[in-house]
């Protein structure tokens, strides 16, 4: 298996990147862990050329405004279509995506997922699929609270090494909830009204001496 993992997080400090944590867990229990590269620390053109040498590219990325970060799109711009199939001894080249994001529901990812499918087509790559996980923004701060999620990511990696596919059952588990249920919505609204949802945020703002400015409108 000849797969490269690309971490699409633009975070300046990769230690704080959830995509990095996902990437490391994805390869953690593989017998032959795949190479991982960070898009942010490479020249897009060179990295695109390098990645094209692999049978499969898996991009692990944060959702930014319902899609890939600008930096990842700049990399995608540099990917050249593969020659007509079969491009490799094992068949056509393949591309897949693992998205993790802040909002809870993975329906937030539905605008970019069909694009990724069409992108694979434009590149003459087989589309491996897109794995989605919501409510992931805090993983780097509280990795222990996300043990179950990270275990699923490692299982996804093991299954991928065996089958060269994203395991449907694991993908389904990760993608929940797709939409917020009416019960969840009622609960979230109550939590909001009593002010519980923002306790953590407000603590950070206070630590930074920015609490009083939190609603500022500096540009009018």
């Amino acid at each position: 298996m000849n797969t490269i993992i690309l971490n699409g997080s633009p975070k300046g400090n990769p230690k704080q990147s959830n995509s990095r944590i996902f990437a490391e867990h994805f390869v953690k229990e593989m017998r032959n862990p795949c190479e991982i590269k960070r898009i942010a620390e490479n020249d897009s053109k060179e990295l695109a050329r390098y990645a094209a040498g692999f049978d499969t590219i898996i991009i692990i990325l944060p959702l930014y405004i319902h899609a890939m970060p600008g930096l990842v799109m700049k990399f995608i711009e540099k990917l050249e279509p593969a020659p007509p199939t079969p491009a490799t001894p094992s068949g056509p080249k393949t591309i897949g995506f693992i998205i993790q994001a802040g909002f809870m529901e993975t329906a937030q990812h539905k605008y970019v997922e069909p694009y990724f499918r069409r992108l694979a087509e434009q590149l003459n790559y087989t589309y491996l699929g897109t794995v989605s996980k919501g409510e992931a923004a805090g993983i780097y701060m509280y990795p222990k609270m996300f043990k179950k999620v990270l275990k699923l990511i490692s299982e996804l990696g093991v299954a991928y090494e065996k089958t060269r596919a994203f395991d449907k059952e694991i993908v389904k588990k990760l993608s929940k909830p797709y939409q917020l249920s009416s019960f969840q919505l009622r609960l979230l609204k109550v939590v909001d009204i009593v002010g519980l949802s923002n306790i953590g945020w407000h603590k950070v703002l206070k630590q930074n001496g920015a609490f009083e400015q939190r609603l500022d409108r500096p540009f009018i």
């Binding site: 600008g70 937030q108 069409r118 409108r217």
Partner: protein, 154 residues
């Protein structure tokens, strides 16, 4: 009517109070540092868009001319979208049945979004249009028009 124009090198016959040409401007990519939410609320750690932010949140409409790239918005335009996160609050609201950012400002411009380029059939164009509609819905613009540049009434 105050108008902001965002282009990628294209000249369009419309008068603007402010123009951001992404073919010329060097806009830093967002690095996810969250300064704009937790350290200096509303202000990005990078200062290269300060003038744009001012004109955008005080405009009645924004005209955007996008060069379709691999069936999507270009990396440069996507970076601009990412860098608009300081214009919204970190709080989430659920009144529409899904997670939405809370506006930081009282209002945002109407959007006229024109695109130029090709798509993968059969649904590449629809995927693009749905995406743009969603971005500016999330960005709390009230009226959003997305059309090919050829259909713009000058």
């Amino acid at each position: 009517m105050k108008t902001v124009i965002i282009t990628e090198g294209e000249n369009i016959p419309a008068s603007a109070d402010y123009t951001l040409d992404l073919a010329k401007a060097e806009v830093q990519d967002c690095i996810g540092c969250w300064s704009c939410w937790w350290k200096t609320p509303g202000r990005c750690a990078f200062k290269d868009l300060d003038e744009f932010y001012h004109h955008y949140v005080t405009a009645d409409r924004a005209i955007i001319v996008s060069q379709v790239t691999k069936g999507f918005v270009s990396g440069k335009l996507k970076t601009l979208f990412d860098r608009m996160i300081p214009l919204y609050l970190p709080y989430t609201e659920y009144s529409t049945g899904e997670s939405m950012h809370v506006p930081r400002y009282g209002r945002y411009p109407d959007i006229e979004f024109y695109y130029q380029g090709t798509f993968v059939p059969p649904d590449g164009r629809q995927i693009f249009v749905d995406y743009i509609q969603r971005v500016f819905y999330q960005f709390h613009s009230k009226n959003i028009v997305v059309k090919p540049i050829g259909e713009r009434n000058s």
